[in-house]
Every structure is written in structure tokens, then in C-alpha cells.
């Protein structure tokens, strides 16, 4: 259908539209018009992605000079591929409607592991191995040596791409990861470098967060993307954690030991080179003296290690003299390493700021701030000069030098915590130095500054106002959309009591309480008897789940549950969990029914959807608070309080509730879907918790279902499930939650639609 969104012609590749999709597009268009940033929350399963794509593509076509590129960031590889498939659908619709093939180029970019077609390299299992192997075949000096010695292996796909691929731009079209690989195979070009090269002139780029948020990668990949781009962060409810993760470093004794070997290897290599090819080192030195930032002209394939700090913080001056020669630099690293070792020999916990650390290092080993800041760059230059093939081996020394650069660059927003042992095992010495970023706005700031529109969107972003605060930006639109429903297909219930009136809660005091655990077990047991097909249950943490499962086992509850359904449990091993997940789906598929016990904040809760019969009920056991005893968290809370005036409790509750919402939201993936959402903790009834749930869940919690017993919940569920099991046809939705074009254009409906968006 063709829509008119405030004067913009939007092609929408479906015959019907949800009212909230229309409303969402309206808000999005206003954001783009204002060239500002936006925060938009729309329930999962209401076609958020296709609305976004339809509108932005239409916008790009209408105003090709205003918006040149769409950068769509998503979290997981399947998500990325889904987006591209939806885009393909949209483009096919365009071709069908307009009768002409448009010259849009859209592609997905992912790591080498997902794109490599080199038979040997792509068979490696881990991303790091693939990267390292790729580098050893494509680094510029390897290729240079190949010229003189043709026996040296190089990657023929890269060679082919380098000699031919750059001249001809990738023909217009939609390229998913597999399409890129197929194209690469056909042409004999490396799909990874082809994709990286093509994103510069593509109209739409779909990749993961890290390519934009992690400075180590962003600098390589996304440096030259046009300013007039629209950036979309989908599934952005965890964006702050991604930002923080990309700037934080942990150093253990093992890291230091490995770093020590790295430094030794460096030294030996320098010695060797000095004997055979001293000119090379002299040349490097000469260039550094001349103030060339990088001693060699970096080639695309070499820039594997980039600066860990953000581009605007990188000093534009020559490397200081004290670390200019290779030996001096290695000596410098040794000193720094020794200092770190001495710091890890502490007996008690130390917490200090970056300036304190710098002061201490200056006093103890006379290391200045300035050379520290150049550490990362200097190491890169050295590694390149020494022609070290497998950079993966040097990850430890890279980590240390990155840390050096980070700690000397940022005086604010970071903290250093040295813990001599883990809290749970105070007898075992396992010292760790955490250098942790506390301010997510640091990493994302360049993105907001550089691109004209940044849209942050997800199914669960409530409360909306907290994101602009912790990410430190001014959005022009902030809206939360509800899900219009012809039938209430979600049923949130708060179970606060067991049948014996024991209050249910996962809070610390009652965590080990037998009665609570038993009642939780009862709840699951009763539900397993009445809910068809799949049930997913989430626990607040892995340890908590283990304990509960163990005591359910002892009490025989699990055996009783097994009479109704098979039980699968998430483990800490990803491969094992994947297998369990697949078996779980199989059991749901063949009608046996199954229960999946899983963990909030785990991989399952973040990446797996439980559509339709894969999840007819989600049970959230307890409130998934983050482990509050962690010093890093405490430091972060303190920082948030001081810098952003966000109270600790507010943030903790916000964090817990967004994860709870993520978990329960996994079951509803569309209007034809239905599912129970059971919050099994009496604390959910409190206004401060409930109020932080997304609006589309909140509005279906009625006052009667705030403090149910297990039995009452079972009764309500039975009723709900019986209703939902009735046939649900398209006609039932039409006019209410599903609109034809005529219905959409009616005055009355437009009136209604304005109420869907809830501005804050």
C-alpha cells in the first residue's frame, strides 16, 4: 500500500497496516525532518523494522541530498539478517509498484567469521582465529614478500578483489551475508573486504553495534561514513552496556604473564632484525622523528589494531622521543609491566581514579602521562615494522598498551579497581585490575555528534527519559507506542503469594527460604499442567537457578513437572544451551510440550524469540536485579548519582525492570501470537516497579491481578488460554488493530492514531 505520511509518499509492502506502525512512521519522519535524535519504543511484533525501513527509504528517495545513508545497527547476526530480508521485501515491492528497478545498494556487514570464503580460513571455529589467519594472509608486508617469493601463501580472494574489485562498484541490490558470499565466490573476490569497501557508497548498511560504538573497530570500519546518515540502533535497551563494555579493560595476572612473553618476543625480534635488517628500524625511527603519526602508511588490511580511544581524543602530534626507538619502547613497556605486576600484589581492595593512578605511576617508576598516551599507537607501528604476522598472539601486550592509552587519556568517567581475590573465594588469590568505564555517553558521544539523526528504538525502553540522561543527548522526539489489540493477547499476572499465603520474592533475605522455593516450584508445576506447548521460565541469576533447580530436584517437584512436560535448562556453555534450545523447540513442535529454564540477562533472554507455541507462557521468578555487591557496579551507581542525578535505586530498578520486560516480551511476537506473562514476585506490584514496565505491558495489568496466589493465577490463566484458543481471523482485527488504506484515511481513525503515541 502507498501511504501519505505528512506529505511523504511511503511504499509499505503489505496490504494492511497496524495503526501503531503509522503512528511510528509519523514520529520518525518528524525526527528526520528536525535532523535530530529520537527515542522510540514500540512493542515487539508490531512491525517496527519494516516501518523504519519503509519510511527511511522513502525519505532517502524523496530527499536524496538530505539523507544519504541509513546505518542500521542491530545486536545479533540473525537480527541483522532479518533486517536485510525485510529490506529485500520492501525493495521487491518498490520494483513491483513502480515497475522500475531502483538503484539502491544495501548490504550487511559482519565479522570475517561470517563472511570469509577462503576454504582454510573459514573452517576455523572462532572469530579470533579467523581474524588472525586472515591477517597473516593479507597483511601488506606479506603481500609484498609474496611478490619476491611466490611460494608464500596469500589469500587469492583478497588479491583478486584488490586488483579488480575496487574499480567496479558492487551492483545495486540487496546483499545479505550469504548473498555477499555467493557474489564473492562467483567473482573470486573476498566478500569481507568487498563489504567493507562497499559500505562507503551503499545506501543502506546493516551491521552490529560494535562497528559504530567500539572505537577499536569503529575507527577502521566506519570512519568515512557520511555525516548525512541516519543511524538506527535497534534493540537498543542495552546500549549503555555495549558502550561501557567497549571502553573497559580487565587485567589479570595471566594477562601480565602473557604480556611478559609478548614483550620478550618483541625484544628478540628486534635483536634479530637489527642484525639482518637494521635499516628497517632506522627508517621507522626517522619517520617517527619527522612526526609522521604512523611510521608506515597503513593499508586497509593492516589496520587491525586501532586506537582504543575515541578519534577526537587522539593526539595529533609526533610520538615523544622517549619511546621512539624500538628498544626504548620495549624497555618502557617492561617498566610499565613491572609496575602493573606490583600493583596486582595487593592484599586488599584498592579503588582509585585515573589521575591518582597516573600520579602513582609517575612517583614509582617515573612514567609520564604523555608517552603512555602514545602507547597503543607506538605498539601498532612497531608490530607493523617487525612484520608480525599473527597479531592474535600479541593480544596481551595490545591490551596492556590500550589500557595505558585509555588511562592516560580520560581523567573522568573511569575508575580503577584492584581486587586481590573474588568475593566468594577469599582464600584463593586471583588479583584483577578492573579499568572500567562508568559513563556510557563517552563511547556514544561521537556518534551523536557526527550523524545528523540517531534513532534509538526497542520494544522495551521504559522509562524513556532515562536513556537521554545516561547517554547524555537531547532527543527531539521521545515516544512510546502501545499495541492496539483486537483481543488482549497478553495476560500479565503478578503472583505475589503461594497457596499457603507465603509471600513470593527473590529478595536476598528470603532467597534460601524453603517455602518460597517450594511455592515457586508449585507455580511452575501447576502451569505446566495447563499451558499448552512451551513455557519459558527466567531466573534472576545463574547461581540462583542452580540452587532452585537442585532443591526442586530434592523435593521431587521436577519429577512431577516431567509428567507434564520435558525440562530443558540453560547452562553456561553456549553450545550446550543451543542444543537444549533446539530440543526444546522440537519438543514444542511435536506436541510433547517443554519447559525451558533460563536466566535473565543470559544469552537466551537477549537473543532468542519464543514465537507462538514456543512460548505460551513466560514466568519470571523474582526481580532480575543486577548483583549489587559488585564494586564496579557500586562505582557506576555513585558516578550516575554524582554526574546525572540518578538515584541508585532508580537505576537499579530501571535496570531490573528492563531485563524483566525483555524476558517476558520474548513470548509475544505479534498480534496473532498470545502468551501469559507471569511475574512471580510480590515486589512487581509496587508502583515504582510496575511503572517502569513498558506501557504496552503495563496497561494490561489490572488491579485485580496485582497480588495473586498461585491458584488464582492458574484460574485466570485457564480462562485466558481458553479464550485465546478460539480461532482468530483477520476479519476480527480489521478496523481495530489492522487497517486497510481506506480505514487508515478516515478522519476518525486518524484521531485515534494520535493517541497511540505517548509522548513524554
Amino acid at each position: 500500500m502507498k501511504l501519505n505520511i505528512e506529505g511523504l509518499l511511503v511504499y509499505f509492502p503489505y496490504d494492511y497496516i497496524y495503526p501503531e506502525q503509522y503512528s511510528y512512521m509519523l514520529e520518525l519522519k518528524r525526527t528526520l525532518d528536525a535532523k535530530g535524535h529520537g527515542v522510540l519504543e514500540m512493542p515487539s511484533g508490531t512491525g517496527k523494522t519494516i516501518s523504519l525501513l519503509s519510511l527511511i527509504v522513502a525519505y532517502q528517495r524523496a530527499f536524496p541530498l538530505e539523507v544519504t545513508k541509513l546505518i542500521y545497527c542491530s545486536r545479533t547476526v540473525p537480527e541483522i539478517e532479518k533486517v536485510v530480508e525485510e529490506l529485500r521485501k520492501l525493495m521487491e515491492f518498490y520494483t513491483k509498484e513502480t515497475g522500475e528497478s531502483n538503484n539502491f545498494l544495501a548490504l550487511a556487514l559482519s565479522s570475517r567469521k561470517n563472511l570469509c570464503i577462503h576454504p582454510e580460513v573459514s573452517s576455523l571455529r572462532f572469530g579470533k582465529e579467523v581474524d588472525g589467519k586472515c591477517h597473516s594472509l593479507t597483511a601488506s608486508y606479506v603481500r609484498a614478500q609474496h611478490h619476491s617469493n611466490p611460494n608464500l601463501p596469500v589469500c587469492r580472494f583478497y588479491e583478486e578483489f584488490d586488483s579488480v574489485g575496487r574499480q567496479v562498484p558492487l551492483p545495486a541490490g540487496i546483499y545479505n551475508l550469504d548473498d555477499l558470499k555467493a557474489f564473492g565466490r562467483r567473482k573470486g573476490w573476498c566478500p569481507y573486504y568487498l563489504a567493507r569497501y562497499s559500505i562507503l557508497h551503499a545506501n543502506i548498511v546493516v551491521y552490529s553495534y560494535h562497528y559504530l560504538l567500539d572505537p577499536k573497530i569503529a575507527d577502521l570500519v566506519s570512519k568515512e561514513l557520511a555525516k548525512k546518515s541516519v543511524v538506527v540502533f535497534d534493540e537498543a535497551h542495552n546500549i549503555d552496556n555495549v558502550c561501557i563494555d567497549s571502553m573497559s579493560v580487565n587485567i589479570t595476572r595471566r594477562t601480565l604473564d602473557r604480556c611478559q612473553t609478548n614483550v620478550d618476543t618483541l625484544q628478540n625480534t628486534i635483536h634479530k632484525i637489527k642484525e639482518t635488517d637494521a635499516a628497517k628500524l632506522r627508517e621507522e625511527y626517522r619517520r617517527l622523528v619527522e612526526g609522521l603519526k604512523e611510521a608506515n602508511v597503513a593499508r586497509e588490511t593492516d589496520i587491525y589494531l586501532a586506537n582504543p580511544v575515541l578519534p577526537d581524543e587522539i593526539l595529533q602530534e609526533a610520538v615523544p622521543g622517549s619511546i621512539r626507538t624500538a628498544e626504548h619502547f620495549v624497555g618502557f613497556m617492561r617498566r610499565f609491566l613491572e609496575y602493573l605486576k606490583s600493583r596486582l600484589r595487593v592484599q586488599h581492595v584498592v579503588q582509585e581514579s585515573a589521575p591518582q593512578f597516573l600520579k602513582d605511576i609517575f612517583e614509582k617508576v617515573c612514567i609520564d602521562r604523555k608517552p603512555l598516551r602514545f602507547c597503543a599507537e607506538r605498539l601498532q607501528s612497531l608490530l607493523r615494522t617487525l612484520e608480525i604476522a599473527d597479531i592474535a598472539d600479541f593480544s596481551a601486550v595490545t591490551l596492556i598498551s590500550n589500557f595505558a592509552t585509555l588511562v592516560s587519556t580520560y581523567s573522568q568517567g573511569f575508575t580503577i579497581i584492584i581486587e586481590p581475590f573474588e568475593d566468594r573465594t577469599p582464600t584463593i588469590a586471583n588479583p584483577v585490575l578492573h579499568f572500567s568505564c562508568m559513563d556510557p555517553s563517552i563511547a556514544i558521544k561521537p556518534v551523536f555528534q557526527r550523524f545528523q539523526s540517531v534513532v534509538i528504538t526497542s520494544g522495551t525502553l521504559s522509562p524513556l527519559d532515562i536513556y537521554p540522561r545516561i547517554l547524555d543527548f537531547r532527543p527531539v522526539t521521545m515516544a512510546s507506542f502501545t499495541m492496539t489489540l483486537a483481543r488482549t493477547c497478553l495476560c500479565p499476572l503478578i503472583v505475589g503469594r503461594g497457596n499457603d499465603q507465603v509471600a513470593l520474592s527473590s529478595k536476598f533475605e528470603t532467597r534460601e527460604d524453603f517455602a518460597v522455593i517450594r511455592n515457586y516450584g508449585n507455580l511452575l508445576l501447576e502451569m505446566s499442567a495447563i499451558v499448552p506447548d512451551g513455557i519459558v521460565a527466567f531466573f534472576t541469576s545463574y547461581v540462583y537457578m542452580e540452587n532452585i533447580v537442585a532443591s526442586w530436584y530434592e523435593q521431587g517437584i521436577l519429577e512431577n513437572i516431567q509428567r507434564n512436560k520435558l525440562i530443558f535448562i540453560e547452562t553456561q556453555d553456549a553450545a550446550e544451551t543451543s542444543m537444549a534450545l533446539e530440543k526444546y523447540q522440537e519438543a514444542c513442535e511435536n506436541g510433547r510440550g517443554a519447559i525451558l529454564l533460563s536466566v535473565a540477562r543470559g544469552k537466551v533472554s537477549e537473543g532468542i524469540d519464543f514465537v507462538h507455541h514456543y512460548g505460551r507462557a513466560v514466568i519470571m521468578f523474582g526481580v532480575p536485579y543486577v548483583y549489587t555487591q559488585s564494586r564496579i557496579l557500586k562505582a557506576r551507581l555513585e558516578y550516575l548519582r554524582d554526574q546525572f542525578q540518578i538515584r541508585e535505586n532508580d537505576f537499579l530498578t530501571f535496570d531490573a525492570m528492563r531485563h524483566a520486560a525483555q524476558c517476558v516480551g520474548r513470548a509475544i511476537r505479534g498480534k496473532t501470537d498470545y502468551g501469559l506473562m507471569i511475574f512471580a514476585d510480590k515486589r512487581y506490584a509496587r508502583a515504582d516497579k510496575r511503572g517502569k514496565l513498558p506501557r504496552w505491558i503495563q496497561e494490561h495489568i489490572n488491579d485485580g491481578s496485582l497480588n495473586l496466589t498461585v491458584d488464582e493465577a492458574v484460574q485466570l490463566s485457564k480462562h485466558f488460554l481458553r479464550q485465546m484458543a478460539q480461532p482468530f481471523r483477520q476479519e476480527d482485527q480489521l478496523g481495530l488493530s489492522l487497517l486497510t488504506l481506506e480505514q487508515l484515511e478516515s478522519e476518525e481513525m486518524l484521531q485515534k492514531i494520535t493517541q497511540i503515541a505517548h509522548q513524554t
Binding site: D15, N114, D245, S436, F568, S578, K603, D609
Partner: protein, 525 residues
């Protein structure tokens, strides 16, 4: 009764049965008992017919052994030799214990087959009820004629029947009970054992390795329940446990399952993340080191439980849903291990494509593309349900026949002479006419079709069953002719008595019932 010589494996004297002293013989294929002083067995059971044996508890005064047959009957032997009663019983029991399983398999299979036939064929089932359950003929005789059917029918149509899965909680059903003196009792049934074997092939293997050479069945299961394998939360202590190997095998199986990876890329958690942070970066990368050193015993037992549940569920699922596939699966698995990555590369895209398409589909946003179907609208559904009646074969008469008969009648009429001496009196004639006219005594039934409506359906049904049953018996009876062997002669005699019995037990009661209820109808069988 038996002229054939059989191998006698065990003879136990002074065994009472129905308060009669006698001797118990255990032979190669059957167990038999004959009263003292006679050379005929009054009790004889094929091992295949025996479902299980039961023994009286040790403390009891009477030392008994009970055999329960598949038909539900049971025979009890009382070992009466005072001094060696217990020993005798044990000897018989041990021997039976070894013999029964051999026949059990065969018997079970046959029994299953019979059961299936009965369930699938209601007529046969009814016949079975009429003839066997009411003891007109024995089950053996009933099946004797059909056994050809059992073995010869092409099994293929039954193979695509849905497999019955395994209850996920079969281990829970073996709740231990305390037996009062510091011990636990587990009740195992054949079903549970079957479930255990199907779910845990490793146990089955152990069973076939050890029973009965090294262990008796009982010992085997006792050890099973004591083993750490059964109680996964207990940490393995002894290595002599024969099941420790099973655990290892399971572990291996689980590992291969895991390394095989998942087919659906959307649930593959490993490849979910696009760019994982390098080691050392990030906030909470410091995981507790995975070595077992600092893991408390409780932790590892907990994770063992979790592993166990995952494995158990996977095995139950596999046993239930892919029993047939399993063999071929493993075969293909072994053949494709070398080219694993290549293979997955080739086969993944279609699955992935389909899954992706499924994931982005919004079915309700699309107009239904299916060609519009016209719903079936029936004005008179019963007419639809009954349908046209097939033409009955009729006897047609040719025109020549008709002309002939007309001529014949004409001739008859022409030569008709009333014999006036034999005329009825007018009153008798009137009454006869009255009786024959509609509503008269002889015309009470009215037309033929009325009998359908007159007789209630149960009676009709019963009649039908009786008819079928009688037919079956007669079939048995006639199948004996020509009587040329001794066996057939015996059978004829038996069948005759069977027929008589059938008449006595079935037909007569029915006849009486009918007569009672429908006095007017003249019933004769």
C-alpha cells in the same frame, strides 16, 4: 496328551496344586504339573504364555510360587516338601527366571500383534469377546486359525503408525518405598524397564552384557538404583560401579550432540554475537575460573543435575520421536564427519532462509493469497452423510421366461378343476382371510421393513454378533474336515462341544430373551 518326548529340565516332587499333591516338571518350552500317581499333566503352561512369576515372602509358612499368565489367569504351586521346600522353590524360580525372558520377547511381540489386531478390528474384538472371554473356545484356538494372518500380513501399513513416546517422568514413577527395615523398595514394571532401555541405550548394553552371566536381573537393577548414575546429584565415589561407564558414554553422547551443533541458525547462541569483545575487554569478563578446584561440591552436583535433565529430556525426545531415524542418523553422521564444515555450508542456507522468512513474516498484514474457497453449505446433511444406496443385485427375468410362465399359468387355469371335497368351511376361510389381511394375526409384522424398526438396535447388534460368532465357530468346525489325523479328530470333537456350548451359553439365553420380550415372534434357531 503329549506323545512327543521333551527335555525335562527340572523335576520337583511334592508340589501341591489345588490341594492335590503332585510333581512339577520344568521342560524346555513349558511348565507342567501332574497329580501324583497319574501320568497326565493337569496343568501345563507354555513359557511364552506366562507373564510373570510371583513368590510368597520368605517369612511365610507356605512356600508358594505363582505363575500369572497373559490371559490374567494364575496358577499357584505350593511346595510341600517340608525340608527342602524353600530350596525347591528357589531352584524352580531361578530356572524360570532364566527361561521366561527367552520366551518373553517372542510372546510379547505376538501379544502386541494380537492386541493391535484386536484394537484395529472391532468385529474381531467383538468376536474375541464373544468366543474367548465367554470361554466358548480358548484364546489359543481363536488365534490358531488367524496366526497365519498375524505373521503373513504385510507389516508395512502398520509401520507408519505413530510411535508411542516415553513419559518424561518414567523415572519418577519408580518412587522408592521404604520396606520397613532400613531398605528401599523400587517397583519396576516391564514398561519402565523398556523406557529405561529406550532412553538410555547404554544401560541396555550393560544389561545385555551382564545379565544373566554376571548378575541376576534383580542384582542388576539393585545396583542400578544404587549407582551414582541414577542419583546424579551424588558425586561419583567408586569406580567399580558398572554404570560409571554409562555415565561416560552419556557424556560422550551429549558432547557429540553438542558438537554436531544446531540446524536452526536462529537458535545457535554461539554465532549469535557478531563481534565478541576480545579477551580482557568489557565489564564482567572475569568469570570464575572454570577449573573444578574452586568449585564447591555442591556447585558441581548442581550442574550435574542440570546436565542430567538436559540429557534426559533430549534422550526421551529422541527415543520418542525419532526411533526409526536414529540408526540412519548415526550412519550419516559418521560418514559426514570429515567434510563437516563443507556440508554445513551447503545445507545451511535453505534452512536459514526458511527460518528467516518465517521470522519476518507478518501473516495478518498480508491479504490472504489463497484462492478463495466456497464453504460447503449443506441443506440436508443427512442426505450427504448417507449417500446414494448402491444398487442391489436383482434377479432379472428374461421375456422368454415371462412368456413361458404366462403360458403355463394360462394352461393351469384352463385345466383347473376344483375338488369340492376338500374345501374349507366358509368360517375357516373368512378367519384365514382375516388373518392374512393387513392387521391380521399372521400379518402383524406388516411389511418386511417393519422388522427393522420393530426390533431395537441392540438386539439386532447382538444377533449380528451371534451370527458372526456362530459363523466363526462353524468355520473352525468345518476346517477340520476331512478328518485324517488324530489331532483333527480331537479338534472336531472339541469343536462340536464348543458349538454345543455356544448354543447353550449364547444362543439359548438370547432366544429366551427374545421370546420373553417379543412373544408374538416365532423364534427358532
Amino acid at each position: 496328551m503329549t506323545s512327543l518326548s521333551e527335555e525335562v529340565l527340572l523335576v520337583v516332587k511334592k508340589v501341591r496344586q489345588k490341594k492335590q499333591d503332585g510333581t512339577l516338571y520344568l521342560m524346555a518350552e513349558r511348565i507342567a504339573w501332574g497329580p501324583e500317581g497319574k501320568d497326565r499333566f493337569t496343568v501345563s503352561h507354555l513359557y511364552a504364555d506366562i507373564r510373570c512369576q510371583k513368590i510368597s515372602p520368605d517369612g511365610k509358612a507356605k512356600v508358594q510360587l505363582q505363575l500369572v499368565l497373559h490371559t490374567g489367569e494364575s496358577t499357584t504351586f505350593h511346595f510341600a516338601n517340608e525340608s527342602t521346600a524353600l530350596k525347591d522353590r528357589e531352584a524352580a524360580k531361578e530356572l524360570l527366571q532364566q527361561l521366561l525372558p527367552k520366551f518373553k520377547k517372542k510372546a510379547n511381540k505376538e501379544l502386541e500383534e494380537k492386541n493391535r489386531m484386536l484394537q484395529e478390528d472391532p468385529v474381531l474384538f467383538q468376536l474375541y469377546k464373544d468366543l474367548v472371554v465367554s470361554q466358548v473356545i480358548s484364546a489359543e484356538e481363536f488365534w490358531a486359525n488367524r496366526s497365519g494372518g498375524i505373521n503373513n500380513t504385510d507389516p508395512s501399513p502398520y509401520n507408519n503408525k505413530q510411535e508411542v513416546g516415553i513419559s518424561g517422568a518414567f523415572l519418577a514413577d519408580i518412587r522408592p518405598q521404604t520396606d520397613g527395615c532400613n531398605g528401599l523398595r523400587y517397583n519396576l514394571t516391564a514398561d519402565i524397564i523398556e523406557s529405561i532401555f529406550r532412553t538410555y541405550p547404554a544401560v541396555k548394553q550393560k544389561y545385555s552384557e551382564n545379565v544373566p552371566h554376571n548378575l541376576t536381573e534383580k542384582e542388576f537393577w539393585t545396583r542400578f538404583f544404587q549407582s551414582h548414575y541414577f542419583h546424579r546429584d551424588r558425586i561419583n565415589t567408586g569406580t567399580q560401579d558398572i554404570f560409571s561407564e554409562c555415565a561416560k558414554q552419556d557424556e560422550k553422547g551429549l558432547k557429540t550432540l553438542v558438537t554436531q551443533g544446531v540446524k536452526n541458525p536462529l537458535v545457535d547462541l554461539q554465532s549469535l554475537e557478531d563481534k565478541t569483545l576480545d579477551e580482557g575487554y568489557g565489564i564482567c569478563t572475569t568469570q570464575p575460573s572454570t577449573s573444578n578446584a574452586n568449585k564447591s561440591v555442591k556447585d558441581s552436583s548442581n550442574s550435574a543435575i542440570i546436565k542430567r535433565f538436559n540429557h534426559h529430556s533430549a534422550m526421551v525426545l529422541a527415543a520418542g520421536s525419532r526411533r526409526g531415524e536414529l540408526a540412519s542418523d548415526q550412519a550419516s553422521e559418521t560418514s559426514s564427519t570429515d567434510g563437516n564444515s563443507r556440508d554445513s555450508d551447503f545445507f545451511q542456507p535453505p534452512v536459514k532462509k526458511v527460518k528467516l522468512q518465517e521470522a519476518i513474516e507478518f501473516e495478518d498484514l498480508q491479504r490472504e493469497n489463497r484462492p478463495k474457497t466456497v464453504p460447503l453449505n449443506l441443506k440436508k446433511s443427512d442426505r450427504y452423510a448417507h449417500g446414494p444406496v448402491p444398487l442391489q443385485s436383482q434377479q432379472y427375468t428374461t421375456s422368454q421366461d415371462i412368456i413361458n410362465s404366462v403360458n403355463y399359468i394360462r394352461h393351469e387355469m384352463a385345466s383347473y378343476k376344483p375338488s369340492l371335497t376338500q374345501v374349507l368351511s366358509s368360517t375357516a376361510a373368512t378367519s384365514a382371510i382375516a388373518a392374512l389381511s393387513p392387521g391380521g394375526v399372521l400379518m402383524q409384522g406388516g411389511a418386511q421393513q417393519a422388522i427393522n424398526q420393530m426390533v431395537p438396535t441392540e438386539v439386532q447388534g447382538e444377533l449380528k454378533h451371534l451370527y458372526v460368532a456362530a459363523g466363526e465357530l462353524l468355520r473352525h468346525f468345518w476346517s477340520c474336515f476331512p478328518v485324517n489325523t488324530l489331532f483333527l479328530e480331537e479338534k472336531v470333537i472339541k469343536m462340536k462341544s464348543n458349538l454345543e456350548r455356544f448354543q447353550m451359553t449364547k444362543l439359548h439365553p438370547f432366544k429366551e430373551k427374545i421370546q420373553r420380550q417379543y412373544l408374538s415372534t416365532n423364534v427358532s434357531f
